[in-house]
């Protein structure tokens, strides 16, 4: 997804919304409510991202209110599990928190002859979390790179202690690193955008899920970790980030995501198997329509992520035809 779509969204947001504040994100009221249609039944499997786990669970719950006899199973072990499941037909929905790699698209194309379809379903600001007691004001991308990376491709210095970032006194301690494992799309996205495609240090503790990263940072005073913005709890706080080469810092808020100023903003996707020139499977199509409706985007807000606006939704809906 090109970043300039977010700029278009900014225009729509500024023109349309009046109550967009830091405390309450409102869903674009121009998105239609979901309309129930008849003749929808069957089962669906969703295998993929852990970041989207809660979102999928809420969406399934809301979808079941419209179609009580449809059963959807959700499994979220990491974005990298989505392409093999879509290819083998084990799943019909592939939530991913990063775009598919060319090799994954190839494997899909080898089986079906056409490329998979990516539907953007929500926006996320990938947050850098520290313990709630940590007084650090902000971090630049070069500093994040220096903390997490062994190759420091963004050009910063190696940072191993909190006093190298200006904290003093009892905070002059080594930094304890938490991250995700290699199956995670969040791991891949962070490596590409925060580490400038460099490598992680060997001392980053790999956690199986987004919530366990937060749990690790909550229990470990001198810890730092990364996870989706929807996983914020009372035991941690989000650190404002300055983009590479700039000193202006941006918080992980909806406004900054729409404006494209927060450097770690990203789309969250659901990949589906749609042959060109042929309609999408009706059950899958209704699920996606539900997700892109006002109800579905309210779920996005409820889970702590950033909802889509009408212009983006229109583009995504075209992909379903």
């Amino acid at each position: 997804m090109k970043r300039w779509w977010l700029a278009t969204a900014l225009v729509a947001v500024v023109a349309g919304a009046t109550r967009l504040g830091a405390a309450a994100i409102m869903v674009d009221s121009n998105l239609g409510m979901y309309q129930r249609v008849g003749g929808i039944s069957g089962n669906l499997n969703s295998i993929g991202s852990d970041t989207l786990n809660n979102l999928m669970a809420f969406w399934v719950e809301g979808f079941a209110k419209h179609y009580p006899n449809v059963k959807i199973q959700v499994e979220g072990k990491g974005s990298t599990t989505a392409p093999p499941a879509l290819i083998s037909g084990t799943s019909q929905l592939g939530p991913m928190s990063r775009p598919m790699k060319a090799s994954e698209i190839d494997a899909f194309e080898k089986k079906y002859g056409y490329k998979p379809t990516a539907i953007g379903v929500a926006l996320d600001a990938l947050g850098v979390y520290v313990n709630k007691d940590n007084p650090i004001q902000s971090l630049s991308i070069e500093q994040v790179d220096g903390i997490f990376s062994s190759t420091r491709a963004c050009g910063g210095q190696n940072i191993a202690r909190w006093d190298q970032l200006g904290l003093a006194g009892e905070w002059a301690q080594p930094v304890s690193l938490y991250g995700r494992n290699s199956a995670s799309g969040t791991y891949g996205y962070f490596k590409e955008h925060a580490l400038c495609k460099g490598d992680y240090k060997g001392t980053v503790k790999e956690q199986p899920g987004s919530a366990t990263v937060i749990e690790g940072v909550t229990n470990d005073r001198y810890a730092i970790g990364y996870s989706g913005m929807g996983y914020l709890t009372a035991g941690v706080r989000l650190v404002p980030i300055a983009p590479q080469g700039s000193t202006k810092t941006y918080e992980a808020t909806a406004d900054n995501v729409y404006a494209g100023t927060y450097p770690l903003s990203r789309y969250l996707y659901i990949y589906v198997n749609k042959a060109p020139g042929q309609p999408l499977d009706p059950l899958v199509k209704q699920f996606i329509l539900y997700v892109l409706s006002q109800e579905g985007q309210e779920v996005v807000v409820k889970d702590g992520f950033v909802p889509l606006v009408k212009d983006i939704v229109d583009v995504e809906l075209k992909k379903l035809e």
Binding site: T81, E104, N181, S182, T203, P276
Partner: protein
């Protein structure tokens, strides 16, 4: 002479009569059942051995494809350009149906690779009367820059796109002009490099094989007035470095890489304003010129080909002493071609590349594993080449205008024995290292598959687990069989065996979530416990010597267990209380910072101390049970004889029972070792799965077993990571097989030695 007649006890009739019908049938039935049972047991036994060996054979079969090379299937050879028109550029589409060829005339020609469709021709705007003399294309981008003999540069899109007509797939060429301008008017452009970034465009051109001109086009948007293009051109003096022979612009458009006729590889920085600054110059080709150079995928490494046929890859590595913090280092060298290298074609999907030399020899290489995977013939004097977007094909254009095409099958180029078990120099690193980092979110990530950190991690976890478990289990079993009141023996044995039934995932979860923070807040107390608890227990028992009324009660066999347990609990409480005191006195109030300061070690919350404890918990029941059985089966007459000779219980246990049960103890430790090596869930949940390679007790590790569990769900079936995980499985299999077999042989030998007792 009198004969003594002995009365036979049996009645005569029964003695002389042969075995009757029912008895014979019974005997035959017994023999048949015996034979059936023997063959069934033999078959089962041999079947088990075959099954275990079969696992090994299956693992090896899954691994073998890793080391196969690449296969090339030649396609058609066709004439792509009219005779007398040397080629400049070729590109092929992702389905290998068509190729686009540009020669010296300002025309783009499409060639159908299977000969099915007739060739098409498109003309390029703005190049009438010019002859194309240089071309530049960036990997995975559609933009192409062409330089002419009169110094003009043409920039535009030249691509082959896949379109769907309903469900019919077509490959369509797309040619459009973006801009045309005169970069070096009056001079012939011999080499060209082009890069467009978000903010500006850089065109580096070598004019007449002598001068290096760099042009930058920036779009300025003032607050008032229309946007305007700012073009600045600067001549970069190459001076004593030699005449320029190969040229590249970096991905961010801020650096120029130059290869010269003296074989020097030089790097310049292009600042916002002012003249380019020379950052470094290193000799890349000894005794010759640098004839070909191109970026690999990711634009972090360059492949350099020389006039001596040598092929090497150079990468930017961190060097704090340099002005910009980086330097170019030669990280891999490949076997040389017989003659000079004329063309280099990188793979758009991974770190592979094709090199071709003047005599037509062409090779397919892979950078990370330093492997040359295929040799093939590409026709005399190849000038342009391209690898297909999915890396499953290649086209080479030679000077006579002939286009050759190959399909490539290259399943696992990125693995070699050295990559798995030796140090490899990865791009961006200061030197060769052992790294395990198998995936990234993008295609240009260099997968690092060294198994050494994982083997080290497995051994570290096992050593710490056994260090904790063996003394406790061994002496516990000795106490249980030799000293404990007989009433307690069975309940205790059953309880310890129940410990073995605890699911390891629960142990790992408790260790990671509950125990690790607890240990972190009471580190000194935990470390002091092995010293304080025995001292307190011993002190307590000795102190009770002094109290006469307690003597009889304490040393009555049936109360001994309760008294000892009470004193151990007191010891733990004392250790917990003394912990903060020791910390304040011995470690200036903070153990963790003392550790960092004095020993240079970092304290990690999920460390080997916690994992060793948790894994010990899983291994102790195994060792305890086998040891206890071994001690109890020492013949009673040995123990009795020793006690009768006046030895105390301890002397008997230590000097008679323990050596006699030696083979059983050894076997128990080996079984414990095997269990600890294969333990997956505890390591997975209680460590951070960090692939570090040091023996520190205070940080984690990454074991082979936990690694397989973490990575197999996302390894694409049949891919390189999948097969590398099978190599890890084979290693575990070999470790446990070798250890168990050796243990069994030694145990049998020990038993034979002690049989005589």
């Amino acid at each position: 002479m009198s004969t003594t007649v002995v009365e036979s006890p049996l009645p005569t009739a029964e003695r002389s009569r042969p075995l009757g019908g029912t008895a014979r049938a019974f005997r035959r039935r017994t023999q048949i059942i015996d034979r059936i049972a023997r063959s069934l047991i033999s078959v089962s036994g041999i079947g088990i051995i075959c099954a275990v060996l079969g696992i090994g054979v299956f693992l090896i079969a899954e691994i073998l494809p890793l080391f196969s090379g690449a296969t090339l299937h030649p396609g058609l050879v066709q004439s792509a350009l009219p005779p007398g028109e040397p080629p400049q550029l070729v590109l092929v589409d992702e389905h290998q149906e068509k190729a686009l060829v540009i020669g010296t005339s300002a025309l783009v020609r499409t060639v159908s690779l299977d000969g099915a469709e007739p060739p098409q021709v498109f003309s390029l705007d703005g190049l009438q009367g010019h002859r194309i003399t240089a071309a530049s294309r960036t990997l995975r981008e559609e933009t192409v820059a062409l330089g002419t003999d009169q110094g003009r540069v043409w920039i535009g899109t030249v691509a082959l796109r896949t379109l769907f007509d309903g469900s019919q797939r077509r490959v369509q060429p797309s040619v459009s002009t973006d801009s045309v301008f005169d970069a070096t008017p009056g001079y012939r452009i011999t080499r060209l490099a082009y890069r467009a970034t978000g903010t500006h465009r850089v065109i580096a051109a070598v004019a007449d094989d002598r001068h290096l001109i760099v042009t930058r086009i920036r779009v300025q948007r003032p607050l008032v007035g229309p946007a305007r293009q700012v073009v600045e051109s600067v001549r970069v003096p190459t001076g004593e470095l030699g005449t320029p022979s190969a040229l590249l612009v970096s991905e961010d458009g801020l650096q120029i890489l130059l290869g010269t006729a003296k074989g020097i590889l030089a790097r310049w920085r292009l600042p916002e304003e002012g003249a380019p600054q020379l950052l470094e110059a290193s000799p890349a080709v000894s005794g010759g010129s640098l004839t070909a150079m191109d970026y690999l995928l990711g634009a972090r490494s360059v492949v350099v080909g020389g006039s001596d046929g040598g092929v090497a890859t150079w990468s930017l590595v961190r060097d704090e002493e340099r002005p910009d913090g980086w330097r170019l280092a030669r990280i891999h060298t490949f076997a040389a071609h017989p003659e000079r290298v004329t063309v280099i074609a990188p793979s758009p999907r991974d770190k592979g590349f094709i090199t071709a030399s003047l005599d037509g020899t062409a090779r397919l290489h892979y950078m990370t594993s330093e492997r040359t995977l295929a040799h093939f013939m590409a026709g005399r004097h190849p000038v342009a080449a391209d690898m297909a977007p999915k890396t499953n094909g290649a086209v080479v254009l030679s000077e006579d205008g002939l286009l050759r095409h190959w399909h490539i099958e290259n399943p696992h180029p990125d693995i070699s024995w050295r990559g798995l078990f030796g140090k490899t120099w990865y791009e961006g690193y200061a030197g060769p290292e052992y790294i395990w980092q198998s995936t990234g979110g993008t295609d240009d990530f260099e997968s690092k598959y060294s198994l050494i950190p994982l083997i080290f991690g497995t051994l570290k976890g096992t050593v710490y687990a056994l260090l904790f478990a063996v003394p406790l289990a061994l002496f516990g079993a000795l106490y249980c069989s030799q000293f404990l009141d007989k009433r307690w023996r069975n309940p205790i044995k059953s309880t310890v065996e129940l410990m073995a039934a605890l699911p390891s995932v629960v142990l790992g979860f408790i260790a990671g979530v509950v125990i690790a923070p607890l240990v972190q807040s009471h580190v000194v107390a935990v470390l002091a416990m092995p010293a304080i608890v025995p001292l307190v227990t011993l002190g307590g028992i000795l102190a009770s010597h002094a109290l006469p009324w307690a003597q009889a009660k304490t040393f009555a066999r049936r109360n001994e267990f309760w008294v000892l347990t009470a004193w151990v609990v007191v010891g733990i409480v004392v250790a917990g209380g003394l912990g903060p005191l020791i910390e304040r006195i011995g470690f200036q109030g903070d153990f963790e910072s003392w550790l960092t300061g004095a020993a240079g070690l970092l304290y990690d919350q999920r460390n080997s101390l916690v994992v060793g404890w948790a894994m010990g918990f899983a291994v102790i029941p195994v060792i305890f049970t086998v040891c206890e059985d071994a001690f109890s089966s020492v013949p009673r007459h040995l123990v009795g004889a020793s006690l009768a000779c006046g030895a105390s219980s301890w002397q008997t246990a230590w000097r008679v029972v323990l050596p006699a049960a030696g083979s059983g103890v050894f076997s128990a430790i080996m079984i414990g070792f095997g269990r600890a090596v294969g333990e997956t869930m505890i390591v997975l949940m209680a460590t951070g799965n960090t692939p570090v390679m040091d023996w520190s007790l205070f940080n984690g590790f990454r074991a082979l077993s936990a690694n397989i569990a973490v990575e197999i769900p996302e390894a694409p079936h049949g891919g390189t990571l999948y097969r590398v995980l099978f190599v890890a499985a084979l290693l575990l299999y070999a470790m446990t097989s070798v250890v168990n077999t050796a243990a069994e042989l030694i145990r049998l030998r020990l038993r034979r030695q002690l049989q005589g007792l």
